[in-house]
């Protein structure tokens, strides 16, 4: 059973549709007592950093989520904005993030880009796996691609937090990991077989 956090920011239905396709039960909740018993947690998210963070605060779920993730080591996956919220702060807004992973969220720096890439980065792109582990198992092939839509990206302070990187004008961090906490900038729920494989891997985590 996967617990998907409903805090009013994100395309929750697509995640549930894909989990259903791979035969995994999921529940969508904003109820702390449900989160308390969660075995695995997904935090979706689309939109503005401040909007997402305020909604998450208003949901009253941050304490129980911290308890689960930090003390019980429940596997946790943030997707897109849900991954960015794991950081300390974002150039997109003024709200403080969850600060579970030591990173800032920064806007794509046009001055560093080799080429005339448009922002947002919208479309399919490859990943380079920087750290071995369960989440990206079976996704090492060159054919692997994921769907991205974002204008801001994660910038971890520690190299050990980098799970994958992706090239868009320059190399940026497209997935992070620290122990049981994962964050992916791309949308596995919209990335066909590749997303299904990644979500299966997430389910297999202990």
């Amino acid at each position: 059973m996967i617990t998907i956090i409903d805090y009013g920011a994100g395309n929750i239905k697509s995640i549930q549709n894909m989990l259903k396709k791979i035969g995994v039960m999921s529940e969508i909740t904003k109820d702390a007592s449900v989160v308390k018993n969660a075995k695995k947690i997904i935090l979706p998210g689309v939109g503005h950093f401040d909007h997402g963070m305020k909604n998450l605060k208003n949901s009253g779920l941050i304490d129980i989520l911290s308890q689960k993730v930090k003390f019980e080591k429940t596997p946790f996956l943030g997707i897109c904005l849900g991954a960015q919220l794991l950081g300390n702060k974002s150039e997109e807004g003024i709200e403080e993030g969850l600060a579970w992973i030591d990173m800032d969220i920064v806007k794509f720096d046009k001055s560093k880009m080799l080429g005339q890439q448009k922002i947002p980065h919208m479309g399919w792109n490859r990943i380079q796996i920087m750290k071995n582990g369960t989440l990206m198992k079976g996704l090492e092939s060159e054919d692997t691609r994921f769907y991205f839509v974002h204008s801001f990206h994660m910038l971890p302070k520690l190299k050990e937090s980098v799970l994958t990187s992706t090239y868009y004008g320059y190399e940026f961090v497209s997935a992070v990991q620290q122990d049981n906490i994962f964050g992916v900038q791309f949308h596995p729920e919209k990335s066909h077989y590749f997303g299904m494989q990644m979500l299966k891997n997430f389910i297999e985590l202990n």
Binding site: K21, G123, D143
Partner: protein, 255 residues
């Protein structure tokens, strides 16, 4: 490393039936959209745009039940357009699993609502659809209401107003080329893509794989087609297809 340009099948439907037009006329019944989406899913297409082309003119709401059914089988980015006139409708579509909402007739009628939608849901989720007809003097005009209502403003002005409203993408369809396989209107793509910074998705006229490359070279950020992916020529038999990644890479389509 390369960045991949998107290649997008466009499905047009009338309420719940999949149809394909030629020059926005003579809708030909194809089948159930869910079957087409399932096949496109197996072929791992980059994205799908689904348009209900009669909703606005018939004063209908989007067919939410059908859209929800289709979304449950769509594991790629999915855009829907047709009959969308309010923020509540947009909200509802996102809840069903749609990523992007395509707006067309409302663009010329209520730009304020478009701006509100962008502020609430983000630019990346709002596509402005611009159907263009070239008149006998060779002049381009945008049309709304499935090609029946002319936007009097010059097209270059219209497209820039849409960009200022901060829509995420422009979906540009050539009415003259729709279903003709005569290739994209490359002059039109060039003219408009040079005016804007946001991605332009070209549609209308793709007849062979090489047309996609030409569309990108003319300035489109993504290329799309209807008939090309739905029919097998020369007899126009219904056969859903999509090039393999290998076929796309041979084209050197990625730039």
């Amino acid at each position: 490393m390369v960045y991949m340009n998107r290649l997008i099948p466009v499905l047009t439907m009338s309420n719940s039936k999949l149809v394909k037009t030629r020059c926005f006329k003579k809708p030909n019944y194809i089948g159930d959209p869910i079957n087409a989406v399932k096949i496109f899913n197996d072929k791992m297409v980059d994205e799908i745009i689904l348009l209900d082309i009669t909703a606005t003119n018939e004063g209908r709401e989007p067919n939410y039940a059908k859209i929800e059914e289709i979304c449950s089988e769509a594991f790629m980015p999915f855009a829907y357009g047709g009959g969308v006139r309010s923020l509540d409708q947009i909200q509802k579509l996102f809840q069903l699993g749609i990523e992007k909402v395509v707006l067309n007739s409302i663009l010329a009628e209520n730009l304020g609502l478009v701006k509100e939608a962008v502020a609430i849901f983000g630019s990346q989720s709002i596509i402005a659809s611009v159907d263009v007809k070239k008149n006998i003097l060779g002049k381009y005009y945008a049309y709304t209401h499935s090609g029946t209502k002319k936007v009097k403003m010059p097209i270059v002005e219209y497209i820039q107003i849409l960009e200022k409203a901060e829509v995420g993408e422009i979906f540009l369809n050539s009415i003259n080329r729709d279903g003709t396989y005569k290739s994209y209107d490359l002059n039109l793509i060039k003219l408009l893509s040079e005016l804007i910074d946001i991605p332009l998705v070209a549609c209308g006229g793709a007849g062979e794989l090489g047309d996609f490359k030409k569309g990108i070279e003319a300035g489109a950020s993504a290329v799309s087609a209807g008939s090309f992916f739905i029919y097998k020529r020369p007899h126009q038999a219904v056969l859903i297809s999509y090039p393999t990644q290998k076929e796309i890479s041979i084209l050197n389509f990625n730039k």
